[in-house]
């Protein structure tokens, strides 16, 4: 499995480097620009947590078929491919979370002279009431764990979606590709608008189960771990019978 893992991690290295290089460039350019122009800027908060998670979602989508075809054609079994993919996602999510935590710290330091700019970690965005408690090393570690879990889940979600798309017969591929964004960006908001009370109840239940309403971090971690396990099981079912087309 080591060889497969080395290949997958090596391939994703570029995504990692590009993403953080772009972030660094944007923030460096922003702060240098602000210091040169000396304009009054309005207050606001910044967090890079979610953007990283979405980068991982897209990486998961693009990774599935490329890595599957490359590894299967080089004598790897589907089991090894899946195990290697899970390890890749795990390692990538943890490294991503660490880098994101460090990046956030760097931005926080750079933004110290701008009192009206708040730089939040993912955990501070999700649990604003715990803002003060989540500073320092413990806060950094808890944020890292949460970011890694969120990143891992979204990465795996992308991987699963791509896997389902890959396995679908040709005539179902287009409807699937259309239905997914339509459901997310049209049908769901429509339901939310038409049945606000039902939607609010649903969101409330979800936030309670995830421990966000009660500020219970353990419950949040647990819900992400369960989601990761469920997504892994579903992904394995997809990979197990996938064929080279």
């Amino acid at each position: 499995m080591k060889k497969a893992l080395r290949y997958q991690l090596s391939d994703l290295k570029l995504v990692f480097i590009c993403y953080f290089a772009i972030l660094l460039f944007i923030f460096a350019a922003g702060f240098i620009g602000l210091s040169l122009v000396k304009i009054n800027i309005g207050s606001g908060s910044v967090s890079i947590g979610m953007s990283g998670a979405f980068v991982c979602l897209i990486t998961g989508i693009s990774m599935f078929s490329e890595h599957f075809l490359m590894l299967i054609q080089n004598g790897f079994s589907r089991n090894i491919y899946f195990k290697s993919s899970l390890c890749t996602i795990g390692i990538f999510s943890v490294v991503f979370a660490i880098a994101e935590g460090l990046m956030t710290k760097l931005i926080q330091i750079a933004a110290l002279s701008y009192k009206n700019i708040k730089v939040n970690t993912s955990i501070q965005m999700i649990f604003p009431s715990l803002h003060e408690k989540l500073d320092g090393t413990a806060g950094f570690l808890m944020n890292m764990l949460l970011t890694a879990l969120m990143t891992g889940c979204l990465f795996l979600l992308g991987y699963l979606v791509a896997g389902i798309f890959y396995r679908l017969p040709k005539h179902f591929k287009t409807p699937f590709a259309i239905c997914l964004p339509v459901t997310l960006f049209i049908i769901l908001p429509l339901i939310c608008g038409l049945f606000p009370s039902a939607w609010n109840t649903f969101v409330d239940i979800l936030l309670t189960v995830m421990g966000i309403n009660s500020n219970n971090l353990i419950l949040t971690y647990l819900s992400f771990i369960i989601t990761f396990i469920l997504l892994s099981a579903a992904s394995f079912a997809v990979v197990r019978r996938a064929e080279v087309k």
Partner: protein
């Protein structure tokens, strides 16, 4: 038994029966020719052997070990086919690098040498290569991996005559140095007649011929001459096909010709391509 054993393999795609109860054995250190018309089931069979697609029924084993999802076995196989399964942005030299990572016996020096011989640009992305050069790249991979079982599905697709000849010569050279099992699936039968040792002919998903090349070629002959004389000669003999041009007729027969032939008739040896056409024709 040493080698690959294929037992009772069947595969159906929707309403098309691609393979129906296929049974063959592929021995170690032999060159096989897998012949069949378009859609006969050659690629399906090679894909099943290489664990790329799943069979509906039957088993494939190597030295008694099941092949399906078995990495120990699969690491001894290498299949080249017409599809480009390499990542979009991968360059030739990167593919060689990973070839070396995945196959410990991959001969990088030999691969580089073949790149020079075929004038394959190593810095070029695989997807940007022409069809012919993509075939060359895949053939170089196949010749450099040094695994005991190599499967070549249409290896000379898009190759000009010079490169085809070069490839066949290199294949024979490699085989002579260290024999390995090669299964060549191709439509250019005449070109591989002198390379293959064993011929497997597949028609509508079924194996209709599975014999050594020499047995096949010695097992039949062609007789040609005026139609009336040929008709008289073939009466009571087993024929597999015939061609008629004007008053001249050529008939393909199984068995051995008589020592003495009537004047006006000509005997020639069976040609693998002719035999293939006769056997696989409607």
């Amino acid at each position: 038994m040493k080698g690959i054993e294929i037992k009772g393999i069947s595969k159906t795609f929707k309403d098309t029966k691609a393979l129906a109860d296929v049974n063959i054995q592929l021995e170690e250190g032999k060159i096989y020719g897998l012949l069949g018309r378009n859609g006969a089931g050659k690629s399906t069979l090679l894909n099943i052997i290489n664990n790329r697609i799943f069979q509906d029924e039957g088993t494939v084993t190597l030295d008694g070990e099941p092949v399906k999802e078995n990495e120990q076995v699969l690491s001894r196989f290498f299949l080249v086919n017409e599809n480009n399964l390499y990542p979009e942005g991968m360059k030739v030299k990167e593919a060689f690098f990973w070839g070396k990572e995945f196959y410990p016996d991959f001969d990088m020096e030999y691969a580089n040498k073949l790149c020079k011989v075929f004038e394959l640009p190593k810095k070029r992305k695989i997807k940007n290569l022409s069809t012919g050069y993509q075939s060359i790249f895949k053939n170089i991979m196949a010749l450099s991996v040094n695994v005991p079982y190599v499967f070549l599905d249409e290896p000379v697709l898009g190759l000009d005559a010079y490169h085809r000849d070069l490839f066949y010569r290199l294949l024979i050279e490699k085989y002579a140095q260290n024999p390995f099992t090669v299964v060549i699936s191709t439509h250019l039968i005449e070109e591989v007649t002198n390379i293959v040792e064993h011929v497997v002919i597949i028609k509508n998903g079924q194996i209709i011929k599975n014999e050594s090349r020499d047995d096949i070629l010695n097992g039949g002959y062609c007789v040609s001459g005026p139609a009336t004389m040929v008709n008289a000669y073939i009466s009571g003999r087993e024929t597999i096909g015939e061609d008629t041009i004007g008053g001249l007729k050529t008939v393909y027969l199984l068995g051995r010709p008589d020592d003495v032939l009537p004047d006006g008739l000509e005997i020639s040896s069976m040609d693998l391509q002719k035999l293939f056409i006769q056997l696989t024709g409607v």
